[in-house]
């Protein structure tokens, strides 16, 4: 496995050729009474092996739904997700169970995502039992290794979640996700519930683990400065649709989409000497049950034109590797 990782790192071209995950026209609608809530409405992007793709957007933009649909916790309304070239939605339940070894999820709330009545050994050992990997003493040994890997003491193995702090619980969640040597991990706001000094600990851990184990991440968050720090590429979503997708440097330094620009200028900078003109978006995110016609962002867009209300902007590669959906770039 380590050799694979090295190859990926050394040979940039071959890395570009094998997307580990390909999302094609993914849609997920929920029924709300007689209406449809379009939580995710047409996602198209690739994630390459060993990279981190950041997924950002405001609450209700469908980023968590996208993450959960991509690992088939939800059945999609339409579209495909190819994992290692195969559509995961075509697999039978049995086959899917096998594939779930390679795809794991880290949850946002470390207080709600660990069963309070299970010990750490049971929590981290559960995936090992379910997939019949190891049993008995060997399982215990493996759990202890995992605890060490995420920076916890193996002596904690018989403790219950309430005996840990938030940051430590998130480490337990990470250990559980790593138990089966996954290839792809969806991190659904893994640090939002943690204090700043602890956030940095967890982000450093995630980065180290990625280097060591060659993991691929989809990192969902709303904190843009943290997303920029951890991601290779960033996808910006708004009301279930993709707005902009590019490598993180370009996205943050030369954003094209007005929404990305506004998002970036909304982030308060911890430096009192910096004074800047902020783009303040008026109003709130419209309801995804009844989204605006044409471009979904037009109701809050400072650059909205006539065409924006009638036509949906096309997803276009404006510069190599820099995609944007906005009429300004037609």
């Amino acid at each position: 496995m380590t050799t694979d990782v090295k190859n990926v790192e050394l040979d940039d071209d071959s890395k570009k050729k094998v997307p580990l995950v390909q999302v094609k026209n993914l849609r997920k609608y929920f029924s709300v009474g007689k209406q449809k809530l379009k939580a995710v409405d047409g996602l198209n992007f690739d994630i390459y092996e060993g990279e981190t793709v950041g997924l950002v957007g405001e609450s209700g933009c469908g980023k968590s739904t996208a993450g959960r649909t991509m690992i088939r916790l939800y059945e999609p309304t339409d579209g495909e997700v190819l994992f290692q070239g195969k559509n995961i939605y075509d697999h039978s339940e049995k086959k899917m169970a096998k594939i779930r070894r390679d795809i794991q999820l880290i949850f946002q709330d470390p207080y709600a995502s660990l069963n309070p009545r299970m010990t750490v050994e049971e929590i981290i050992g559960e995936p090992l039992t379910i997939h019949g990997v190891v049993k008995g003493k060997e399982k215990k040994k493996r759990v202890e290794e995992l605890l060490k890997l995420v920076g916890l003491s193996p002596e904690h193995i018989n403790r219950y979640p309430h005996e840990f702090s938030g940051g430590q619980r998130q480490r337990i969640g990470i250990a559980r996700a790593l138990a089966l040597h996954p290839k792809f991990i969806v991190c659904d706001e893994p640090i939002s519930a943690l204090d700043v000094s602890i956030q940095a600990q967890v982000v450093n851990l995630l980065k180290e683990l990625q280097k060591e184990m060659g993991l691929t991440y989809l990192f969902i968050a709303h904190d843009l400065s943290m997303v920029k720090y951890i991601s290779d590429r960033i996808l910006v979503m708004y009301l279930g649709k993709m707005m902009e997708f590019s490598d993180s440097e370009t996205l943050c330094n030369e954003p094209l989409h007005p929404y990305t620009k506004a998002l970036l200028s909304s982030v308060p900078i911890p430096d009192p000497t910096i004074k800047r003109e902020r783009i303040v978006l008026s109003g709130d995110v419209p309801s995804p049950i009844n989204p605006p016609s044409g471009c979904v962002f037009r109701t809050r867009c400072p650059n909205a034109m006539e065409i924006c209300s009638s036509a949906v902007p096309e997803w276009k590669e404006q510069k190599p590797g820099h995609f944007v959906a906005c009429h300004l770039f037609w």
């Binding site: 982000v203 843009l224 900078i269 911890p270 000497t273 978006l281 709130d284």
Partner: protein
């Protein structure tokens, strides 16, 4: 500018089944008229308890004001009776809470809730109170205020609810506004709106603001002075420029270093503060930051440092600022720290 509020050596304990929690352990700070101060710190550091103590909103028991004074406009609030407090709350000091959904009354119209405090504190007609509430809603940027007055909180979005909360807090033109994590529950674009609104309020009114937050970016943007709290104590305070540019306390330094900046190199790992905050059931005898501190020395373990003025009104509670420690150069101090920690 005159002194509006002075908190002196405030100590608050909570009685629990597990024993006494020493939530606030000697907090000192002051607020001048019209200024904005930020109280920052991690969860559990006592910042919200301090804020609620100023409003006397802590239920007692379990809370116990053990020591200290809170002087507002020359009056010690700790000794004030409940009736006196009722006259002050919402009128002279008001508060905005973190979660606008749970702090508004869901069964009563927003307009009525805003009018309530006007009617309580002033001898005016309902009509006048209504107009006053309407003006305040306009001031906080709520469109169609006439219609909004008649609506219930569930008909408001998160950002609008927070605006309504701010309107409610400002309607009596208080001298002091305490905002407890006012933007934490909001999205960044909405947070930006609320921050702009708070800046407008600063400009337009004489109201002093205490902003409690864990977001250093928010502090840098709107505060004049910063109070950094850790484990129930103030570890450092000073002007926003001093704190961000010349932090002296290792905890402040650590906090500032642990947030990524936009211009940061990705290959450099973030420098988190190792470990987690101490248990306030039995706080450490010496400096409470000692177990996590990179510069910890022998004295830190057993003796709590006194706050020292390090110039420009910046106050730091750290042994490194002691006149004896300054004689030793920083080189030795770092070495000692490295030795004791690992």
């Amino acid at each position: 500018m005159g002194k509006l509020l002075e908190v002196k050596n405030l100590r608050i304990d909570f009685k629990t089944y597990g024993g006494e929690v020493h939530a606030v352990r000697g907090v000192n700070f002051e607020v001048k008229q019209g200024e904005t101060i930020g109280i920052v710190g991690e969860s559990g550091c006592g910042k919200s308890v301090t804020a609620k103590a100023i409003m006397k909103l802590l239920a007692s028991p379990p809370a116990r004001y053990k020591e200290g004074s809170i002087t507002f406009n020359g009056k010690n609030l700790i000794e004030a009776s409940e009736r006196e407090m009722e006259r002050i709350r919402g009128n002279e000091i008001s508060m905005i809470f973190q979660d606008p959904m749970t702090s508004l009354n869901p069964t009563s119209k927003v307009g009525v809730q805003i009018m309530e405090s006007v009617l309580k504190h002033n001898q005016i007609s309902r009509k006048k109170a209504y107009n006053h509430a309407l003006e305040t809603l306009q001031l906080v940027g709520i469109p169609q205020p006439e219609k909004r007055m008649e609506q219930y909180p569930h008909e408001f979005s998160g950002g609008m609810r927070q605006r309504a909360m701010i309107a409610m807090a400002l309607v009596c033109q208080p001298k002091l506004l305490i905002a407890d994590e006012p933007t934490t529950a909001l999205d960044v674009t909405i947070q930006a709106q609320i921050l702009e609104l708070m800046k407008d309020i600063q400009k337009q009114s004489e109201t002093a603001i205490i902003l409690i937050t864990h977001d250093l970016g928010v502090v840098a943007e709107i505060c004049d002075r910063v109070v950094v709290m850790y484990a129930g104590k103030v570890v450092e305070s000073g002007t926003v420029l001093e704190i961000f540019q010349n932090p002296e306390h290792p905890y402040t330094k650590g906090l500032l270093k642990s947030v990524p900046r936009f211009d940061m190199d990705k290959s450099v790992p973030l420098s988190p503060i190792i470990g987690s905050p101490p248990d306030l059931f039995s706080p450490p005898k010496g400096c409470s930051f000692y177990p996590r501190c990179d510069y910890a020395m022998k004295i830190c373990k057993d003796h709590d440092p006194e706050p020292e003025d390090v110039g420009n009104g910046q106050i730091t509670a750290c042994w490194l600022q002691h006149s004896m420690a300054k004689v030793m150069n920083t080189h030795t101090a770092t070495n000692v720290g490295g030795g004791t920690k690992r």
